[in-house]
């Protein structure tokens, strides 16, 4: 009895060395995904430190992590949306809108930095709400609905900023970028805290469970009494909020309200999330593994820079990595399904044949 009941969680917790409460729910398969990604990251890192003397320096690693924070924060929000089998293309636009608002409200309107930040975050939540309502109430496909808000959001950011970066930024952003907690850059700590909260919400709350159920089988979720429309709307709002936080981070990093930044960021984020094992079909994936996807993509970018790959080639390389990850994911899935079928047939054949 105990033997039967513990096998999965034991492997999962032993592998992670984290408190069982938090990661105990991650299945063996998800763990394999993470281990695979981790192996690729470590192997790639080892190769890179041979190829480039700069790679393994503290400075470079910190740089990789710092630039990954923005993608990571936005990707946390995107993960919620993809888990409910949606997609959010408006994230980069929300990010720049938040960035210009957080600076512009102080520079142009003379408001306090706190209000600037608050309005920026509310704008993110608001666009998320619009996305969610469009997808659930108007039944517009998420791809189209968020394509519209993506275009609108970027346009609003340009209109508000006049199409240029707004500087200087309030003191708060400069401090945020410079701050260190226990010697670690504060933005990295902030990202990890947000990731931890997201993981707890997903694995330990009824809302998180509703997210997985809605993405895994919306009809079954609804028939079990889950308000699936509400769940989807909240997922989009989380994505909007996280993108707005990403906008604050980019403001701090560039020391400007960056209207023209983050071109194509939405695709990089979606790619990182998918590489991190979050299924585009919904209902499958976790934050920890997803962060490894972000890290892998960041390392590829870094490698391309360090190895002096001609700049026009870097998107080709990133694209190949994405394609490889997606192909591996499909392969993994079909392999698993085949395994499950065998298992079912095996248990069936053990039963005595009926008359």
């Amino acid at each position: 009895m105990t033997l039967e009941n513990t096998q999965m969680s034991d492997i999962a917790t032993a592998g992670h060395g984290k408190p069982p409460g938090l990661f105990g729910r991650i299945s063996f398969i998800d763990l394999m995904q993470s281990v695979g990604l981790l192996a690729v990251i470590l192997l790639g890192g080892a190769i890179m430190s041979v190829l480039s003397p700069v790679f393994a320096t503290m400075r470079n690693i910190e740089n990789v992590l710092q630039s990954a924070t923005i993608i990571a924060v936005v990707a946390i929000g995107q993960t919620f949306v993809i888990l409910v089998a949606g997609i959010d293309l408006s994230i980069a636009s929300v990010l720049v809108l938040s960035s210009v608002l957080s600076v512009g409200l102080v520079q142009f309107q003379g408001l306090s930095p706190e209000i600037g930040v608050m309005v920026a975050l509310l704008a993110g939540l608001g666009i998320g709400l619009v996305n969610g309502l469009a997808v659930t109430k108007l039944r517009i496909p998420a791809l189209i609905a968020t394509l519209a808000t993506m275009t609108i959001g970027r346009g609003l950011a340009y209109i508000y900023s006049g199409g240029t970066n707004i500087a200087p930024v309030p003191r708060f952003f400069v401090d945020l970028q410079a701050a260190r907690i226990l010697g670690i850059p504060a933005v990295i700590v902030l990202t990890l805290v947000l990731a931890l909260i997201a993981q707890i919400v997903l694995s330990r709350t009824s809302f998180g469970r509703s997210i997985y159920a809605t993405g895994g089988n919306p009809l079954a979720a609804r028939l079990a009494g889950i308000k699936t429309e509400r769940v989807i709307i909240i997922a989009f709002m989380i994505s909007g909020l996280m993108s707005a936080i990403g906008g604050l981070l980019i403001t701090a990093r560039f020391e400007a309200g960056a209207a023209t930044a983050a071109q194509g960021l939405e695709l990089a984020v979606i790619a990182a999330v998918v590489i991190g094992g979050v299924s585009l079909f919904g209902g499958e994936g976790n934050i920890g593994s997803m962060l490894l996807g972000v890290l892998l993509l960041g390392l590829v970018q870094n490698a391309v820079n360090l190895l002096n790959v001609p700049p026009n080639w870097d998107s080709v390389v990133s694209g190949l990595v994405i394609a490889a990850a997606a192909a591996l994911d499909v392969y993994r899935r079909s392999y698993l399904e085949a395994g499950m079928r065998k298992k079912v047939i095996a248990t069936k054949s053990k039963q005595p044949p009926k008359a």
């Binding site: 999965m8 609804r222 499958e284």
Partner: protein, 507 residues
């Protein structure tokens, strides 16, 4: 004498129609069910063979075998002496065309393009519009002269779309036309037109297989009737030797074991459905279910039973009428309201409607029990495991652990997980829609026993089932549905296989 018999068997009578398709000893099993068991079937040129049987008798499987979707486990199907390959394209080539219930056309393409779909005439990848029109026109002229061949198929009525599919079959020089419930979405004049086309094709020597639940239609069009029951062949008879009652007896014919039915105390009305209607699907449905009572709901597939369950449970909206639980009307189109009011639903298609395959057994079990396992929004895995362990034990769910994915379980065990979800909630009314569908015999009887135990504990149960023995052995009362209405309310004494079948198929 014996010599005479042998020679008689070997040589066909001179005037007997030629056999085109011959199936011999065909057997096909799926995990947990033997869908067809050693079935012989043939289709003759210039004849309409009606294929009959209750739901689950094996008709669909036989059709899919003939259309090349499945390979038989044993036995052989030949068309004009050539063995049929398990591949829909080669079944088409060999001359077997299937008309499904719903037309399979490309809506944006013209009638002509649809008729020639995939066989567009022309060279080097260029489609010759002229040749396409010519050939399409020839086919359409035979079955639907009223249609313009350049109309997009999507604009046609379902009846006309079906005729286009028949035209496609003709243009392919098919020898056999399998029609799977072709009349379900047709109006009476459209059915007449279809029958004229069928008679014309028959006169031209095609062999036609006609599947229908409506016996009037069968008697109007068929030359022979083949009846399947529980995957076995009951028999093939010329229509002249049959009447309505004989066919029904062939369809239900099994001995219904008189399961001992202990009378239960029946309480007050728990659920009352009044004048519930939904345009085109449900027509003025009224009935009630009392505490401790099992009300069986019988009828053919498509009679509107699952649609009724979906309306009661708030999955689908309805136009008028009310659903009351213990006198309180419940809000329409809101499953949460239905659950809170005390209704539980075990839906027909558990994989699609009840279970999240990616989630564990435990998470699936507690999917509608968040209020029991959370505090301030946080899940208690301890509480969750208690509930899962308790229900898994009481239902004898066979699974390696409560943490394995639910999709790894067998059908019967998956169904028990869905049942466990509702048992933990103790609903006042439990609606079971085909609770033993696709489940092996052992699990079936366990679930039947469970239904009785639940009724004994005072739960009101609405049992929707296409299996007559299940309805007959469990129900205190039987409602029969047909074409979206309740066409009969029978007491336990009145309910027999024959009466139920008769109400369900004619009216």
């Amino acid at each position: 004498m014996s010599a005479l018999e042998t020679s008689f068997d070997a040589a066909q009578p001179i005037d007997a129609p030629r056999q085109i398709l011959v199936a011999r000893g065909v057997t096909k099993g799926f995990p947990g069910v033997l869908a067809l068991d050693n079935v012989d079937f043939d289709v003759r040129a210039g004849e309409v063979t009606a294929l009959l049987g209750e739901n689950g008798a094996g008709k669909s499987t036989l059709i899919k075998l003939m259309a090349g979707f499945y390979t038989p486990d044993r036995g052989e199907i030949t068309v004009d002496g050539v063995a049929l390959q398990a591949d829909p394209a080669s079944a088409h080539r060999i001359g077997v065309a299937t008309i499904h219930q719903d037309a399979h056309l490309v809506p944006a393409m013209s009638v002509a393009e649809n008729i020639m779909l995939g066989r567009w005439p022309g060279r080097y990848g260029w489609v010759s519009r002229k040749a396409q029109k010519q050939r399409a026109r020839a086919a359409v002229a035979r079955v639907a002269p009223h249609l313009n061949i350049s109309t997009p198929a999507g604009r046609l009525s379902p009846a006309d779309q079906q005729l286009i599919e028949i035209a496609r079959a003709i243009s392919e020089d098919s020898k056999i036309l399998i029609m799977d419930e072709p009349t379900t979405s047709l109006s009476p004049p459209e059915i007449d037109r279809l029958f004229r086309v069928v008679n014309d094709l028959k006169a031209n020597g095609l062999g036609i297989v006609f599947v229908s639940h409506w016996l009037e239609e069968v008697f109007a069009i068929a030359d022979r009737v083949t009846v399947l029951r529980d995957g076995r062949l009951v028999g093939t008879e010329a229509i002249a030797n049959l009447d309505h009652d004989k066919v029904i007896r062939m369809m239900v014919g099994r001995e219904v074991r008189e399961a001992e039915h202990k009378p239960r105390p029946i309480g007050d009305v728990v659920m009352r459905v009044s004048n519930l209607s939904r345009d085109g699907l449900l027509d003025d449905i009224s009935f009630d279910v009392r505490a401790g009572e099992i009300v069986g709901m019988s009828g053919l597939v498509g009679a509107g039973r699952s649609e009724l369950a979906a309306c009661i449970f708030g999955i689908d909206p309805y136009d008028s009428g009310t659903v009351e639980i213990a006198g309180q009307p419940i809000r329409a189109n809101d499953p949460k309201a239905a659950i809170d009011a005390g209704i539980g639903l075990v839906p027909e298609d558990r994989r699609r409607q009840a279970l999240v395959g990616l989630m564990s057994v435990r998470s699936n079990m507690t999917l509608s029990l968040f209020d029991q396992i959370t505090r301030y929004g946080f899940l208690s895995s301890q509480r969750e495991e208690e509930i899962a362990a308790r229900e898994m034990k009481s239902l004898a769910v066979k699974a390696a652990s409560s943490k394995v994915r639910v999709s790894t379980l067998s059908g019967g065990n998956q169904q028990k997980v869905v049942l466990g979800r509702w048992l933990a909630r103790r609903p006042k009314v439990l609606i079971l829609d085909e609770p033993t569908k696709g489940i092996d015999v052992g699990a079936k009887s366990e679930i039947s026993d469970l239904i009785v135990r639940l009724a004994e504990s005072g739960m009101a149960i609405l049992l929707i089932s296409s299996e007559l023995p299940e309805i007959l052995s469990l129900s205190d009362r039987v409602l029969v549905m047909r074409s979206g209405r309740i066409c009969a309310k029978l007491t336990r004494a009145e309910a027999t296989s024959e009466t139920i079948m008769s109400y369900a198929t004619t009216g």
